[in-house]
């Protein structure tokens, strides 16, 4: 069973709403009503809870948390987003936001927030992996490598 934590998720959603509004504002489309997130009554206590959580890890068990929130963009057409977070050792290691994208403008703004972020990549030794290929740029041209050796040699001498 997945642990549920609705309140911190609403905080994330409220944050998205603000970002979304700022984005629309730069388009000249924002009005006063637009800044009010649909989930605002729930978001204030959630912010407080999240603040406490950030100070002392361990308030939430490791695992995946999923929640859904909604907001009303300037188009007045209600938008829903689903947020999935992965918590590990008290820190968020992954956030995935899935928008409903009811109208094209929201879809475009939401797309900018649906990309995942990992705070720190984790390296694993290549010889521990069962892979057919490695995608990187380890192979550089011989000419470049020779020239580099030469200037390093000159620098050392």
């Amino acid at each position: 069973m997945k642990p549920q934590a609705t309140k911190p998720l609403l905080t994330v959603v409220a944050g998205l709403t603000l970002l979304g509004t700022a984005g629309c504002g730069s388009d000249g489309a924002a009005d006063n009503a637009a800044g009010t997130p649909a989930s605002s009554p729930a978001s204030s206590p959630a912010s407080a809870a999240a603040g406490t959580g950030a100070e002392g890890p361990g308030n939430y068990a490791d695992g995946e948390y999923t929640g859904t929130g909604s907001y009303i963009p300037p188009s007045n057409q209600k938008e829903e987003v689903t947020v999935k977070m992965t918590l590990s050792g008290g820190t968020v290691t992954a956030v995935e936001v899935t928008p409903s994208g009811n109208n094209p403008t929201s879809k475009r703004y939401q797309a900018e927030f649906t990309d995942g972020i990992q705070e720190q990549v984790v390296g694993k030794p290549l010889d521990s992996l069962d892979v057919g290929k490695v995608a990187g740029s380890s192979l550089t041209s011989q000419g470049f490598n020779k020239a580099l050796e030469m200037i390093k040699g000159e620098a050392a001498g």
Binding site: G116, D130, V131, S141, A147, I151
Partner: protein, 291 residues
Amino acid sequence: MESFSFEAIGTQWHITTEVPVDTAVRSEVAALVEQYDAALSRFRPDSAVTTLGHSGGTAILPGYAAPLLDLFDSLERLTQGRLNPLVGGSLEQLGYGPGYPLRPLGPPAAAPGWTSTVSWQRQEAVETVALTLNQPATVDVGAAGKGQLVDLVWELLTARGYAAVVVDAGSDMRHSGPESLRVALEHPYDPGAAIGVLDLQDGALCASAANRRSWGEGLHHVLDASTGRPVDAVAATWVLAADAMTADGLATALFITDPALLAAEFSFEYVRMFSDGRAQFSNAMAGVLFS
């Protein structure tokens, strides 16, 4: 599975097919690579773009230059000139040119404007492209050229009837066949490690990393053409797309622009790792990175 390897355009190529590629077709592959290099390599003193760059004027290039230049037109526009093939001159200024002097000639120099300097035209009847420069300039197709050559080699082998063709040119690969290929994403700071693994099937994966070709403090080959300075916030990028030319170009573009900007016109998935160790990835790449 059968495979053969060769070295060309500064990298090692590995080609895998279901049945062995016969000698005649291998010669065709070699001829194609040679033709591409002779037309488009700025590292060859006798190439068409090198000659064109000395004095400006018009060069006649093979027909496949059209989709390549078309891609560059789009990327230049979407990045507002930060990706621009005329960055070749800026690279030479920093010491990254023919013969690899690897010593800066002076302070960073912005590339000449792409649209104000370059024009090109398809010549349908003769399957060529006329590329015109109205002033001397160094054209560097490196941002997507290797990817395109991967595509051309893959298309040649497929057209000759070979199945399950994988063309791997180090940082750019194209796959087709019933079995997916498991690929590790090499850690940009540790060649013995990977930061994730993905399955590649019927498409292309291209990687770009800045630090591997570094020849001095803060000096590497991925530049912002509008300033002529190396980009330092992004350490490495990986892009999945239908073809390797597009994947290669987008992998470079992700060093200097936001994925959302590119997503407006291109269909692709990506991972990009920043020099502080953070990574950003598109939805379909969730689960690819180790955690």
